[in-house]
């Protein structure tokens, strides 16, 4: 049996005390353990940012790459060796700024990977600049007079791209998060979980308290997760009540299931031996 402890890394997480990321450091291993996935078959891929340090702290295969590029790396790992469980993890800057295009195209492509975004609505590691999810008016080092750029909505974004599993969670609700991450990992296809993960150091607006007062569970309101338009509507909800949970899910085929060559795992394929006949066409 796999336990959470099997995922315990030897390096202690050095996020600020109280940082939202700790919740995911609990939730991800817990979900993996519940699913009986072994550390050796898990790859955590990340970019750069406070959140992206995650793979350093989990005992699994870790790929801590460059800013914004976790998704192409994660997709290719999965396509090369489908027996691995591949989780991409990173920040809102990483995923919705530098990595915008990869997020969008991964969502439409539907590789069987899980993408968890620590959405603290700020750049943490670079010491507090506005991110694409920073709220209007927010004061940061790059927006000393208040942010004037309307934030993007990662869920609507994913929905519009045709994502097959779209969810949101909150670091203040680990139990709920574990459940959703478990389902995201089990989902066959691209699963995005945007997590409100407060940055206690640089974001004084979107605090644990801010969310605690507002979040509610989608499943408590009979939301139909197969209805894309309903999902769009729920995704647009922002104010006194903010929904978390699974917004949308469908069973569209994964990218790899549509590709002929990938029907045999690449890593298991024998090398193709060339023959004289392969030159025929050049005659």
């Amino acid at each position: 049996m796999v336990t959470m402890n099997d995922f315990k890394g030897s390096v202690k997480a050095d996020w600020c005390p109280g940082c939202g990321n700790y919740a995911q450091l609990t939730a991800i291993p817990m979900a993996l353990a519940q699913l009986g996935i072994k550390p050796e078959n898990t790859v955590i891929v990340s970019g750069i940012g406070c959140s992206s340090n995650m793979p350093e702290y989990v005992k699994a295969y870790g790929f801590h790459g460059i800013h914004g590029r976790s998704l192409p790396v994660a997709s290719a790992i999965k396509w090369s060796n489908p027996e691995l469980t591949v989780i991409a993890y990173g920040g809102d800057g990483d995923g919705y700024n530098e990595g915008t295009q990869h997020f969008y195209h991964s969502a439409r492509r539907n590789p069987d990977i899980t993408y968890i975004v620590s959405d603290n609505q700020i750049f943490g590691l670079t010491t507090g600049q506005a991110s694409p999810t920073s709220m209007l008016g927010m004061k940061t080092k790059t927006t000393p007079d208040g942010n004037i750029e309307p934030p993007i909505n990662p869920l609507s974004m994913a929905l519009s791209a045709g994502a097959t599993f779209v969810a949101r969670e909150f670091s203040g609700d680990v139990k709920h998060m574990v459940e959703t991450i478990r389902r995201a990992i089990s989902h066959k296809g691209f699963a995005i979980v945007d997590v409100f993960s407060p940055c206690v150091t640089y974001n004084k607006d979107n605090t644990f308290d801010f969310f605690r007062k507002r979040v509610y569970h989608l499943e408590d309101e009979k939301h139909d997760t197969s209805d894309q338009m309903a999902a769009f509507k729920k995704a647009a909800e922002w104010g006194d009540r903010i929904p978390i949970g699974i917004f949308y899910e469908n069973n569209d085929p994964t990218y790899e299931s549509r590709d002929e060559v990938l029907q045999t795992p690449l890593i298991k394929q024998p090398v193709k031996k060339l023959e004289e006949s392969d030159l025929e066409e050049f005659l």
Binding site: K38, V45, N53, P72, S80, F282
Partner: protein, 578 residues
């Protein structure tokens, strides 16, 4: 004029079928066992403009598109005006000095001396068979082979292959060609050229294709890319053969995604490549450093075209060497290959994949538009699989360290999925175990050591570098230094100079980085060293001077065209006599 050799040019507009006509002609020769080189002059336009395709065929080995022009097939008026005008030289290409085949319906155009104008009612003939306007090209091709009195059956065979077997369209084309063949002979007679079928047959193939094949032979399992001329030919080849070769081909949202995917796939343990031309490669440079820092094998196919920026998208240049040397911040080990011809691309593609995996570092396979897209005859290839994979850790290693300090600088990889060896690979600086040293405490000492460990790989590799190839250097008094695709033109220029009694040899740099110290020995005592480069600033010369202090005179060409042997010989001679 060499009677064993012929140079044919098909000129027309984009969309006129210039290229396919050229390829048919080339294949007729190669199937008959003649050596062929082609040259493709075209624009970044889908229809219209002005393009041409040149085929040089010979009983002897040919190494470049050559000088001179024996036969012109003019598909439009612009082509006949242009290629017969002795004043127009398209970047060095010779004007016609032989026969011009064209449709008499073209009407009037300027005529020049010494040219034999062989008009034929190409369109009229064609219309007897079909209303497809491209059929007249087939008639013209037929005419040319009639003139050369080369076996019609081979031509018929190539046409059939080109037009999909024995169907109606193919047969119409064969018939049209035959009528062109016969009509020409009847009207204008035969050439004095002595081109006859040989007992062997050659393959006619481009560098983009041999890059793909060579990589497959070396175990390529995935190619990630975003189309860009002239790096697309490898993609098209691999995509078309994806299922046959079991190679996964993925076109991505951009080049950044492509290279990151290639790195991810290599990390997972398969052999994967990416590639682009200069502009797309620029976008990839950040990830090159990541591969180097994380010590993940990576092969990048870089097909140069004339820059800067979008520049001349369908023209050749060797302008990306310094971009590759400078790709990504910081110092790290890497290797750059610049195969000299289509055949060498095949072998170096495999060598690159092996080297990248052996040293867990980025390896660049540089070609240029000329090499990626022009066709050359090749007799045979070695098909023995060429795969040297270093061992991976299995899971029972004690005290496994992903980046263990070793004699060679190379440490053993453990692939994801291996029991017990879970670890983190990081683009942040790390220690032997892979733990990051830039978070809590940066230990300058560890940083120093891990830098040295990585750079040691390069030192180890340098010791294994094969000698720099050369041509006629044994007794040379003058050394010409070339790299990549200019080999053929340079060697032919040197042949010309040798025939004049000048003892010139060629140092052929096919592995420009790390710079081989043996170049020092090769130039020692030479009266003159002359670099020949298809770029403005002499990037190879700058690199070699930078790394080993060797320099010399320079001949450059930066008009988008490749070198022509005759003109080059003159330039080299001038440098020598100066």
């Amino acid at each position: 004029m060499d009677q064993n050799e012929v140079i044919i040019r098909v000129g027309g507009a984009a969309g006129d079928g210039v290229q396919s006509a050229g390829l048919i002609i080339g294949k007729v020769f190669s199937r008959n066992g003649l050596h062929v080189q082609t040259y493709n002059y075209y624009q970044s336009i889908i229809r219209g403009g002005q393009s041409w395709y040149q085929i040089r065929a010979s009983h002897n080995r040919v190494k470049s598109q050559g000088d001179g022009l024996d036969i012109l097939i003019a598909l439009n008026k612009d082509a006949i005006e242009r290629h017969t005008n002795p004043k127009i030289n398209e970047g060095g290409a010779s004007p016609l000095d032989g026969i011009a085949v064209y449709d008499t319906a073209l009407g009037d155009f300027t005529k020049y001396e010494k040219i034999k104008y062989c008009g034929l009612p190409l369109g009229e003939i064609a219309q007897k068979y079909s209303r497809n306007t491209l059929l007249k090209n087939t008639v013209a091709i037929g005419a040319v082979f009639g003139y050369l009195s080369l076996d019609f059956e081979t031509l018929a065979g190539v046409i059939r292959d080109q037009f999909g077997g024995k169907g109606e369209i193919a047969e119409l084309n064969v018939k049209a060609a035959k009528e062109g063949y016969d009509t020409f002979v009847t009207k204008y007679g035969k050439s004095s050229k002595a081109l006859n079928p040989e007992e062997k047959r050659f393959y006619l193939i481009s560098g983009g294709e041999t890059a793909g094949m060579g990589a497959v032979r070396a175990g390529l399992k995935a190619y990630f890319g975003y189309p860009m001329t002239p790096a697309s030919s490898i993609i098209h080849y691999l995509a078309a053969h994806s299922r046959k070769f079991d190679v996964f081909v993925k076109i991505t949202e951009d080049e950044i995604s492509a290279i990151n995917m290639a790195i991810g796939a290599n990390y997972a343990g398969i052999r994967a490549m990416t590639g682009s031309s200069g502009g797309g490669f620029a976008l990839m440079t950040e990830a090159v450093g990541m591969a180097a820092e994380m010590e993940i094998p990576l092969v990048v196919y870089e097909a140069q075209r004339a820059g800067p920026s979008t520049g001349l998208p369908t023209k050749t240049e060797q302008g990306d060497l310094l971009q590759i040397i400078g790709a990504s911040q910081g110092d790290f080990p890497k290797a750059v290959f610049s195969p000299r011809n289509v055949e060498e691309v095949y072998y170096m593609a495999g060598e690159a994949l092996n080297l990248a995996e052996k040293y867990q570092m980025p390896v660049f396979l540089m070609v240029d538009l000329y090499l990626a897209e022009h066709y050359e005859t090749v007799e045979k290839f070695d098909f023995t699989p060429d795969i040297v994979r270093p061992p991976f850790a299995k899971g029972d290693e004690k005290d496994y360290r992903r980046y263990a300090y070793t004699e060679t600088g190379v440490s053993m990889r453990a692939l994801p999925g291996t029991p017990n060896l879970m670890h983190n690979e990081d683009s942040d600086e790390h220690d032997e175990k892979g733990d990051v040293v830039s978070d809590a405490v940066t230990d300058p000492e560890i940083r120093r050591k891990i830098m040295e460990k990585r750079m040691k790989k390069l030192e180890t590799y340098i010791k294994e570098l094969p000698p720099t190839p050369s041509y006629l250097m044994e007794d040379a008094e003058y050394a010409v230094v070339q790299w990549g695709s200019t080999q053929g033109a340079v060697e032919e220029a040197v042949d010309i100079l040798r025939s004049k009694g000048l003892k010139v040899g060629v140092i052929e740099v096919n592995r420009p980085f790390p710079v081989n110290q043996d170049i020092r020995d090769l130039v020692r005592g030479k009266k003159k060293v002359i670099f020949v480069e298809n770029n403005y600033t002499g990037q190879l010369r700058r690199l070699i001077s930078s790394e080993i202090g060797v320099t010399g005179d320079i001949i450059t060409k930066y008009d988008g065209e490749s070198f022509y042997p005759g003109a080059l010989a003159t330039q080299i001679e001038e440098k020598i006599r100066k």
